[in-house]
């Protein structure tokens, strides 16, 4: 199939960007979206133009490195699918596709479609862990964990940190990301001792990094490639309130 692409080009963080139109021809429906961009970049290179910069690594939907707003939707039209796992069979011959970077205050553009997501790492630094220095652990069977809790913790822990939730949110909020970690660790017995401090510190780091607040729009969950439940934000809020009270007491 033949497609028209309109791609955001921005040379550097301080420079102005703009949408630039490209044609790609003979795209196979079996190609992934990124393979289609690879093809464009091969052509641009040979024509003496600079290829389009975009982030990617594992190309199997797990590292969280790929991004892209595709026709205004984070990771494109398919539900529960990262851009690297999106295939061209979901597009039609003759389509025009808009491709833009994540846009959010906490994710400044680095170049073209590449953004800086180090603010997510800073949220984790603030408390997204259980303090268990190497060598200090008791036997793994010392504390049984009810299967339901373990499964729910796992579900929250599958977040890949891609930032689609932030890109889709009208407030540029990182609450779903933060809630996923708070839920994962807060559901496990190992995570209890630091539970109050964790949620308070992570929320502070979240706000300091320039993420907006949550107004329950729910777009974050809609675009999340791993389907992190929206209910985890409710849980985060409850934990936050409880912790604020118990710490101020």
């Amino acid at each position: 199939m033949n497609l028209t692409l309109r791609i955001w080009r921005q040379h550097g963080p301080e420079e102005k960007g703009r949408m630039v139109k490209y044609r790609v021809e003979d795209v196979s429906p079996d190609m992934s979206f990124l393979e289609m961009l690879d093809m464009l970049n091969e052509e641009l290179t040979l024509a003496g133009d600079e290829p389009v910069a975009f982030d990617h690594d594992c190309r199997e939907g797990i590292c969280g490195m790929c991004s892209l707003m595709i026709n205004g939707s984070a990771h494109g039209p398919e539900r529960a699918t990262t851009t690297c796992q999106l295939h061209m069979r979901h597009f039609n011959d003759g389509d025009t596709i808009d491709i833009e970077p994540w846009r959010a205050r906490a994710f400044p553009v680095v170049k073209d479609l590449v953004v800086d997501r180090s603010s997510f790492d800073r949220i984790i630094q603030a408390g997204g862990y259980i303090s268990a220095p190497t060598g200090s652990a008791p036997d793994a069977h010392a504390t049984p964990v009810p299967k339901a809790d373990a499964d729910a913790a796992f579900e929250a822990a599958t977040c890949i940190g891609c930032g689609a939730c932030v890109a889709a949110c009208p407030n540029g909020s990182g609450m779903l990301f933060t809630a996923a970690k708070v839920t994962h660790l807060g559901l496990l017995p190992q995570g209890q001792p630091e539970r109050d401090e964790r949620v308070l510190n992570m929320i502070h780091a979240h706000d300091d990094a320039g993420f907006g607040g949550c107004t329950n729009t729910g777009e974050c969950h809609e675009v999340c490639p791993k389907g992190i439940p929206l209910a985890s934000i409710g849980r985060l809020n409850r934990d936050f309130l409880k912790a604020s009270r118990s710490i101020s007491r």
Binding site: H56, R59, D121, A126, A137, A150
Partner: protein, 644 residues
């Protein structure tokens, strides 16, 4: 000119003497310690934030060392360990099915086709038990049973259930555990994190590893960084084949640059081809996707009995199907080790019985499992894998059998290390897939995660003390001649890439190189094919340096430039892999030499002549030099591997 020359054998691996069960304790006891107050003054660079590097940096930070950690992705959490699906082994014997440290040790040595070092493997099996405890304490959400205890599954090459898992995302969960521990140390100020930085050379001062040259991938700036020791945890080199299950950025640059500075490279030809990957769909393919081996627990592998059978799978009656693994290997069936399963798939496809486009595929069928366990149980175990398969192929494995084909997956070879995980350059330690240590000629499923975490959490943090306690670490600055030289060499190379301005893209060369390697240094290797490959690689490399086109500049984010450097190093590695494969005229593990097989087509080892590790020294303008480390087996009897 000869392809290689032979140098002195390796005399000392630093493995302690005495009964194998006590060697690790002995080494830990003998290792000198660094007083906690002095640890702050010792600096360690760790390149890589995967399971090996992430766990090492976190643990060294906890111990009080000053750690500088590097990765090329935008966050340490994205290292390719994240993609591991199936699970991690440990000799916990929670199933009470006869597992033990000794059995895991035995299985690993046997699975590696007797080409690994007994002392190291035994230590790995011992430490495996602690890894699970550590991960659970960090909050890694392993799969559990209704009673709240940890669940296990079995994996290829083992007859016990010792694999711990977190649905199909074990690597992700383990890596996030290590990443969180690492970020905790970043917050504590013991670890400095440098994401989006690529190591492009090693700085060796007075014979010791003292620093690295790095490029900031965002600004293009090239700088030097120094430490008292350098740890490479940069992963495997499977991407030399272009198509593999590795991430697009996986590369050999860190280890190859160290090799050029004097570190020996061991067993480069030992690569693992994984039997269960999604077949290639066309020329545009940029990577291959693994379907976890755990699927072979419940899926049955088959092809039609008839050559070129045109019928869809569901129209082929039971008695016209050949469940060839169950037929040829009745005692292990679908769970034979990877090398065996891969070659068997290649053989049936070579016979013309393959399925799917180009006949390059075999079926992995879940119909029986669904009938026996129910749709829900199968869904709970493999749901995310089925979805991934459907997303890529457009087919639902609940309804039609999966199609799978072997793909390059893991590299057992890597920088040579002694028992302390130290390379032949003092102060340069190598952990995880980047070293060659524990898997011999074939790695068992779920053992790479175990090794990465064993190295990073438990082994290196003990052995590196001994080095840091004894050295003389005069500070090195960027003006030191060795640093200036390394840095200007990196700059020159970058300028050279940018100035060639040829007419072929980096990817086009990489693809062609990968094809040569797959055809001649892949599942089956022959004298004739390998010699031809060496010619082809040399010709293509020469063309690369003449015709490659790298657009843009060196002063900002330039992904083509990054790739060019990686591919240039793959060219050199590829030649060494072929030389290594050529010199080893036996078959063993993943290395199958067409000339060396049993009458029924199984790999035929030659213990008389090849019971050694081949550690290669960079020859510069001269051919590489082979150093042999003889392998002795005191605890595991050398036998011809049989899974029949």
């Amino acid at each position: 000119m000869n392809l290689y020359t032979e140098g002195d054998p390796i005399a000392d691996t630093k493995a302690p003497e005495g009964p194998i069960e006590t060697r690790w304790d002995t080494r830990r006891f003998e290792a000198k310690l660094v007083n906690p107050a002095n640890r702050r003054k010792r600096t360690v660079i760790v390149v890589g934030t995967g399971l090996a590097g992430g766990s090492a940096a976190a643990t060294l930070g906890e111990a009080g060392y000053h750690v500088k950690s590097y990765c090329y992705q935008d966050s340490p959490r994205r290292a390719h360990s994240i993609a591991a699906q199936g699970g991690i082994n440990a000799a916990k014997n929670y199933r009470n099915d006869g597992d033990s440290v000794h059995r895991l040790f035995y299985d690993t040595v046997k699975g590696g086709d007797f080409r690994s070092r007994e002392s190291n493997v035994h230590r790995l099996a011992q430490v495996s038990v602690e890894i699970i405890d550590q991960c659970v304490a960090q909050g890694v959400p392993f799969a559990r049973e209704y009673g709240g205890l940890l669940d296990n599954r079995s994996f290829g090459g083992a007859q016990v259930s010792r694999t711990f898992y977190a649905r199909g995302q074990t690597g992700q969960q383990l890596l996030l555990g290590a990443y969180q521990a690492l970020e905790r140390q970043v917050a504590a100020g013991t670890v400095e994190m440098h994401a989006r930085h690529e190591m492009l050379d090693l700085i060796v001062v007075d014979g010791k590893a003292r620093g690295i040259v790095v490029r900031d991938l965002v600004t293009g700036e090239i700088t030097t960084d120094f430490a008292d020791a350098v740890v490479l945890a940069s992963g495997g080199y499977g991407n030399v084949f272009f198509l593999s299950t590795n991430a697009k950025g996986c590369n050999v640059t860190a280890t190859w640059r160290a090799h050029r500075k004097g570190a020996l490279f061991a067993n480069p030809c030992f690569t693992q081809i994984h039997p269960t990957c999604i077949p290639q769909s066309g020329e545009h393919q940029s990577k291959l996707t693994l379907m976890s081996e755990s699927l072979r627990n419940d899926g049955r592998v088959w092809v039609p009995k008839e050559k070129g059978d045109p019928r869809p799978a569901n129209e082929i009656p039971e008695d016209e199907r050949d469940y060839y693994l169950e037929r040829i290997y009745p005692s292990f069936g679908n769970l034979v080790p990877r090398d065996i399963a891969s070659r068997a798939a290649k053989n049936v496809c070579d016979e013309g019985r393959g399925v799917g486009p180009g006949g390059l595929g075999v079926y992995l069928d879940f119909a029986d499992a669904i009938a026996r366990l129910g749709q829900d149980a199968v869904e709970a175990k493999y749901g995310n894998l089925f979805e991934m398969y459907e997303r890529i192929t457009g087919e639902d494995p609940n309804k039609v059998p999966m199609r799978i084909y072997p793909a390059v997956h893991y590299t057992m070879g890597g920088l040579w290390v002694d028992y302390d995980l130290q390379s032949t350059i003092p102060g340069l330690f190598v952990v995880g897939e980047a070293n060659f240590s524990d898997h011999g000629a074939n790695r068992l499923g779920a053992s790479a995660l175990m090794q990465g975490l064993a190295d990073g959490y438990f082994v290196l943090p003990n052995t590196i003390n001994d080095y840091l306690a004894t050295g003389d670490f005069t500070p090195v600055t960027e003006e030191h001649p060795a640093a200036v030289e390394a840095r200007s060499a990196v700059e020159e190379r970058i300028n050279r890439f940018l100035s060639i301005d040829g007419d072929r893209t980096v990817d086009s060369f990489h693809r062609e190189l990968g094809r040569i390697m797959w055809d001649y240094c892949g599942m089956e290797r022959t004298d004739e094919g390998l010699r031809k490959a060496i010619e082809l690689i040399r010709g293509l490399r020469e063309e690369f340096w003449r015709r490659v086109k790298v657009p843009g500049s060196g002063d900002d984010l330039n992904q083509a430039l990054e790739k060019a450097g990686r591919v240039a190093d793959f060219f050199e590695l590829a030649e060494l892999m072929c030389i290594d494969a050529l010199h080893r005229t036996e078959s063993c593990g993943g290395h199958f030499r067409g000339e060396s097989q049993t009458p029924d087509g199984e790999a035929l080892r030659d213990d008389e002549n090849f019971s050694y590790v081949a550690a290669w020294e960079w020859g510069g303008d001269q051919p590489p030099v082979l150093h042999k480390e003889d392998l002795t087996f005191e605890y595991v009897h050398l036998v011809q591997r049989s899974y029949k």
